[in-house]
Amino acid sequence: MCDDIVKVYNSGGKSVTALDHLTLSAREGEVFGLLGPNGAGKTTLVRILTTLLRATEGRANVGGYDVDKEESKVREIIGYAGQDSERSAYFRLSVRENLLYFAHTLRDVPRAIAIERIDRIAEAVGFADRLNRHFTALSGGEKQLVIVMRAILHNPQICFLDEPSKSLDPVTARRVRSFVKDYAQKHGMTLCLTTHNMLEAEEVCERLAFINRGRLRFIGTPKEFKRRVEVKETIEIGLNTLDTQVESSLLRLPGVSNLTKGTNVRLYCDDAFDILSDVVDLMKRSGLKAPVRMVEPSLEDAFAFLVRDDEGEVANNG
């Protein structure tokens, strides 16, 4: 898919490297996830692959076509739903009219087929009752759903969805995820989606690439990704913050290699059972009351670890 890609932006006279010699490839027909924190370079990569942006160095091809030299061929076979694109349709046209316009006019889908497909897809994602509403009357999440529908209406060979469920509620997001995955499998479509939603990546992606600071940090299955957390076990503490003294005491416990703070504090160690009572004691001594339990490491843990490793690396180099 892309080979040694570099993308440098000029921003206010300064050069910013968004992609730094990135090489990766997705297999035909698979659901491939591009994972990474904000500013990692995921959207930049997708924009290069969808012919919207030119790479500074390196080569990329989609479906065997060079994105720079054969851009119209690439455009013939791709579908695309951009990030934050929930305003990107005609507000005074209905959902059905919008989808018909885009599919029939810009994607050359015959009118009758486009009409039939709009009904079928809307039915599958539970949107049939809103097809005649004006685009402007939809909620942000509903608009995003229309944009996802627009991306797949012409049955592209490869579809790029940039954070497709960002503004969807959890129920709709799940429905869209499962529909898009089924649709891709049924039509032999390669699906490339960017996300920092771990659940989404775990549920949908067969393989994923983790990008941070424009560099590839990992490529493999979600299971392999989780194994990147080089600890056997995890202890979760029901707090979202810790004072530095408690944090350093926890990190000094035997076998503890790391700690992350988010919705919960997560402690990574060699043997959770061995230190569980020490953690509880430490919490009691510090006057903290919160549930403490042993959990399986999740994809989110791997994500947090890789980002943290990169930050450490930058700090050391800096």
Binding site: R75, I78, Y80, R87, L93
Partner: protein, 269 residues
């Protein structure tokens, strides 16, 4: 790849649907067009009609000005519609989707301009009718047809300039100052409100290089029987030369500016 004709008629369909859904705006645009034509009567009283007759062979300033104003409405569409469309697409992020689709950017722009011209014609018809009413002594069916053909060729040439401006939006995002400058120049130097022959010679030369000058001159000649700036065959020939030269430049500009714009990305964010 989508063919230009489909891009055109689907854009007409989309625009007409959108237009009719802003009902009050739709109605008032039609009323304004008719009132504008009648308002030209007031100018007629203030204008030195004997000077007009001496210069162009007709003292009918009402019709002279109405045909100028009608050109102004099509000129606005031809020159600025595509730029406005791209600015809208940049703001909503739609440009990322449209530019990931396989169609000729040049024909996409030209088709959308043409679709808007169709829409604009709806509002233009009441004003044109008022103008035609004032030329009923000189008007013939053939004259009207030839006048409209000249108008279309001229507007098509202007649309090429509009295409160049639209591709500038891809690269420079905000080009309203360029719009303002050209709009003013086009109004003053093309004989829209004052006969070109009354301008100083250097300005006349500039005026003759602009696509609407001959279109407007031919329209008035066929409909009102005015004198032409130069021989009729030269005016037609120059009109077609302008159309072809500008079409070539516009095609190259779109190719070049899309490529340049893609260095930083087409999107706003």
């Amino acid at each position: 790849m989508a063919n230009p004709l489909k891009l055109f008629y689907m854009a007409v369909w989309r625009d007409l649907l959108t237009l009719t859904r802003y009902k009050a705006n739709f109605l008032f645009s039609i009323i304004t067009s008719a009132l504008f034509g009648l308002g030209m009567l007031l100018f007629a009283f203030a204008f030195n009609t004997s000077l007009l007759e001496e210069t162009v062979g007709s003292a009918n300033y009402v019709a002279f000005a109405i045909f100028g104003v009608s050109f102004q409405s099509w000129q606005s569409i031809a020159l600025w519609r595509a730029s406005g469309m791209f600015q809208g697409e940049l703001n909503t992020g739609q440009i990322d989707y449209t530019f990931s689709c396989p169609f000729s950017r040049y024909w996409y722009i030209v088709s959308n301009i043409a679709a808007s011209a169709v829409q604009e014609t709806i509002f233009f018809i009441p004003m044109l009718c008022v103008g035609l009413w004032f030329t009923k002594e000189t008007l013939t069916a053939m004259g009207l047809m030839l006048g409209l053909v000249a108008t279309m060729v001229s507007v098509a040439a202007l649309a090429q300039l509009g295409t160049i401006f639209a591709s500038l939006v891809l690269k420079y995002r905000q080009v309203t100052a360029i719009f303002g400058f050209f709009n003013f120049a086009f109004q003053m130097l093309t004989g829209m409100f004052i006969p070109l022959q009354l301008l100083p010679l250097p300005l006349q030369i500039i005026g003759q290089s602009l696509p609407q000058t001959f279109g407007m001159d031919l329209l008035r000649h066929y409909v009102m029987g005015t004198k032409l700036i130069m021989a009729i065959e030269y005016e037609w020939a120059l009109l077609f030369v302008q159309l072809m030269a500008l079409a070539l430049i516009a095609k190259l500009a779109v190719l070049y500016l899309e490529r340049v714009a893609k260095e930083q990305g087409l999107h706003y964010i």
